[in-house]
Amino acid sequence: MELLLQGLNSWLGQVLPEWLVTVIGMVIVITLLLLLPPLMFMIMVWLLRRGIARFADRFGPNRVGIGRFNKERTQQRFPLWGLMQSVADGVKMFTKEDITPAQGDKWLHRIAPVVAIVPTFMVFAVIPFGKQIVGVDLNVGLLYVVAISSIFTIVLLTAGFASNNKFSLLGAMRTVAQMISYEVPMVLALIVPVLLAGSLSLNQIVEAQGAWLGLRWFAFYFPLGPIAFIVYFISALAEVNHTPFDLPEADSEIVAGYVTEYSGMKFALFFMGEFLNQFLICGLAVTLFLGGWQGPGVQLGGVLGYLFSVFWFFLKTFTLYFGLIWIRGTWPRLRVDQLMNFAWKRLVPVALGNLLVTGLAVIVVNLLKK
């Protein structure tokens, strides 16, 4: 943001007044922040479908590309590994019938999917995608992410309630119980990198991992870092209802949970929210534990350094996302009692103990430095 403003100022500053340059800069940043999530969504859906297909020994979407069809209309000129499938799906979603349950709460049913997407987009504003490439560098960035994500819980409850369907309500209740339980170990694990970096700002946490050619990641602070990373990743999976914690939308038990009564574009919005949340937990894990945009080559000056930083961030994030696909393709679902026991009796004590030891270690190291 600041970088962009500096660039704009040196370029347009002579011609235009300062406030106009600021407004132009803001419009550019906001447009980028609104464009990036849907793009990520399309790539992720395609990756997931191809990945799951590979795990199930199928092909997955490999036809829809660009260019003219052949004579039999079975193949396009450039199939592009089926990359255009997501575009086709999007068009299909728009043309579907929009159904509102007659006995439900019509207004809430209409509003819920729109509001559901807002917190997710808001979190994108503070994620550092590269060296100095961040929407807003809040000094309470991490807390902001946790707080904004908690709004999502209420939206899900609203969606489940407004549908007036027992499966929707059951799904919503399950989601909320799960999200509230797993938020505890997640936040406890998130404090560890905060203590190590001495800041709540996501950007400063990334900066603190820059030693050793950008490989001094918090996940390598043995044994505190790895434990926190694993606890965070498990509870984050539960936070976004990913396999093996996908009870809220267990299709073999309660149809589709809170999205049961949604169709067309409204369903697509919930679907997008879910995928973007998966992207965000991977991005946050990378930012906090795997060095964010740090990596070899970032120290270079000029454009090359920036390009390297963006490259490293997205490489790490999508590698983690591949892990998610892997889990989804291979693991069964937990039972409800196993879910709660695991959160409160395993993860919370481990995270709490880890946090205590980390605090002690930070104090001791600081004393030794003096």
Partner: protein
């Protein structure tokens, strides 16, 4: 310029908060009221943000929106007849409540009128307000901090005690109880037979 922007932001946020607050008491559906309460909390958080208290704003959203409202909605959902639940908005006791509410409003109004408000902070803000807040909580205000946490712990233990299932007794006790009940029945049966024999 900045001053004007601040005014616009303040009146927008204050209007939103007040309207949502009005909706909380005026809406007939209790679930809608709970959602209006969320908007109120977010409006208050926005005002904190405007006053450069970002930490307070974020914590306001985290605790009031993320935890307390969810609790309220859960309480609503666990009560019966979910969809057609409409609040009784007027009771016969309104003539007691109205002067009390007016008196409270007058008191709050008087206090806020008679206080001399600081228009800018007495000292400059510390470089890292969150760290300063944490240090203060752990040193100067340690006792209130600890008392608050003990209070929460007491509430937690109390909730567990209240919710603990009453029948959860040791199997040995249950076995003994069964034996006692059986013995009592035998005694009663014997008495009956005796009575019939006579």
């Amino acid at each position: 310029m900045d001053q004007a922007l601040m005014y616009v932001a303040f009146f927008a946020l204050a209007g939103l908060t007040l309207l949502a607050g009005l909706a909380v008491v005026a809406l007939k559906n209790i679930f809608h009221s709970a959602l209006a309460l969320v908007v109120t909390f977010i409006g208050v958080a926005g005002i904190y943000f405007m006053l450069q208290a970002a930490f307070l704003a974020v914590v306001q959203v985290l605790i009031y929106v993320g935890a307390i409202t969810v609790l309220i909605i859960f309480a609503i959902m666990l009560t019966r007849r979910l969809m057609d639940q409409h609040l009784v908005q007027f009771t016969g006791k309104w003539w007691i409540a109205a002067p009390l509410a007016l008196a409270l409003f007058g008191l709050v109004g008087f206090v806020s009128y008679s206080t001399t408000w600081l228009l800018r902070p007495k000292e400059a803000l510390p470089a890292d307000p969150v760290a300063a807040l944490g240090t203060e909580l752990m040193t100067t205000y340690l006792l209130p901090f600890e008392i608050a946490s003990v209070l929460l712990l007491v509430a937690l233990v109390g909730a567990i005690v209240v919710a603990w299932p009453k029948k959860d007794r040791l199997p040995v006790v249950e076995e003994l109880e069964q034996k006692i009940a059986e013995a009592k029945r035998r005694v009663v049966d014997d008495d009956d037979q005796l009575a019939r024999g006579k």
